[in-house]
């Protein structure tokens, strides 16, 4: 952020309104500088850093099977009790979740489930568009969690995006990772 460079100009400065003029100069400079805001839903979208804790996803192994062993540690440690896990035994004799529901309306995105998971299955991703118009839609099931996007590589970048009203679950379609994304902070730090 740029700052005005007004020193104490004494009474001469006050008579000629140097402080007011400095303010005017600052706003004039701002007026002809680049805008710093994202044009979020329409043109671009901010992808958070990888450390961001957003919408959950469940990892799968190479055979396309979920990593989760339905140990229920995540649902035990969850401070707001938003994870429901019901285990069952599959054909191979492995313990797998039959039901894995997360109530996003209760979830506080603390990431404790991620820490507790012994099988490296549940992770918190970078998605943040979970708003919806009907509360039951906020309960996500196993297949949603498996289908949810994984960690994005280019965290901390602004990607081109497009608003698709009336689209499917997520109405903001983002371009593929790495496509023309840029570092937003570039503009902001410059003025200092």
């Amino acid at each position: 952020m740029a700052r005005t460079s007004v020193k104490k100009a004494g009474w001469i400065g006050r008579v000629f309104f140097l402080d007011l003029l400095a303010g005017l100069r600052l706003t004039l400079r701002y007026m002809f500088s680049k805008t710093v805001t994202h044009r979020y839903p329409d043109h671009e979208k901010w992808v958070p850093y990888e450390r961001h804790r957003g919408h959950h996803f469940i990892k799968t192994n190479d055979e396309g099977d979920v990593n989760c062993v339905a140990c229920e540690l995540c649902s035990q440690i969850c401070p707001c009790d938003c994870i429901t896990v019901i285990p069952y035994e599959n054909e191979k004799g492995d313990r797998r979740p039959k039901v894995f529901d997360i109530n996003l309306a209760r979830c506080l995105y603390c990431g404790l489930c991620e820490d507790a998971c012994p099988a490296d299955a549940i992770k918190l991703g970078q998605e943040y568009e979970v708003a919806c118009d009907h509360r039951p839609k906020l309960v996500v099931h196993l297949e949603d969690l498996v289908a949810a996007p994984r960690k994005a590589e280019d965290g901390g970048q602004v990607r081109p995006a497009r608003l698709e009203p009336g689209g499917k679950r997520r109405s903001v379609a983002t371009a593929a990772a790495g496509a023309e994304s840029h570092d937003w902070w570039r503009h902001i730090r410059k003025g200092k």
């Binding site: 701002y30 805008t35 044009r39 329409d42």
Partner: protein, 328 residues
Amino acid sequence: MEYVLALLPMLVKMAIVVGVLLLLPLPLTWMERKIAAHIQQRPGPMRVGWHGLLQPLADALKLLTKEDHIPAEADRRLFAMAPVVALVPPFLVFTAIPFGEPVQVFGTEVTLMLSDMNVGLLFILAVSGIGVFGTILAGWASNSKYAVLGSLRSIAQMISYEIPMGFSVIGVVMLANSMNLSRIVAAQEDLWNVVVQPVGFFVFFIAGLAEAQRIPFDLPEAEGDLGAGYHTEYSGIRFSLFMLAEYLVVVMLAALNVLLFFGGWQGSPFFLPDTVWFLLKIGFFVWVFMWFRFTFPRYRYDQLMAIGWKVLLPLSLLNILVSGILML
């Protein structure tokens, strides 16, 4: 029949002026929002039309379809009257503002103003002075604390700033030997008044800002401490009438600044018609007012009164004295 023919140019001019004035707020709101946005380093409205150009239409549509709410304890007749009363003075002022030299249309000379008054300048000051009635009525009729406080403030502000505003133009009148606006413009052919009367311009500019109740002197509607001041209780189309009046006052003030101190349509570059040059100057001043609006915070009430009575009034009196001595 001859009567109608004689009235025809006048009617056409009136229709043009009224039509333009009614449509003027549309580009002005867009301009104001864009300037506000860019000063705050954001793009502003972008979604309706190209760069939000149709945003004012969307706003207008929204305002027109909103509920027209009248508070239960309000003085209903005055409440309905107030926005119209606020709208009358700005329209009246434009009857006396010239937009250029007389032009030849179909062999007859047509002046580019509605009425060429000898006392034009005084008329404009007087009529803009009664603009406060809309504010007073709105504040009183709403029967709300905030609204009444807003209109009390606006009364005190108007009375205090009318005096320096009136005094600051006396230097200009002395230079032009006339209160006729076309003659004041003609007198600036060689040198714009702002060079000869810098103090007068300074006082007029500040007092005009206060008279138009623009930021940093928008105490009557100070949304920080009074809700929305005198139009707290207004909504829908009545509120939009207040907005219309506010924009017209801004344009009027810009036009006055240009006419009195920046040579009106004088000194246009060779390729521009006088009137276009004049309108460009007005646009520049409108931009300056918006720039001021988004730069300065609001003054405190006692500071406002102190500036009016302790700074601007002595300055304007001194200006009259000095320019009188110099002219002798």
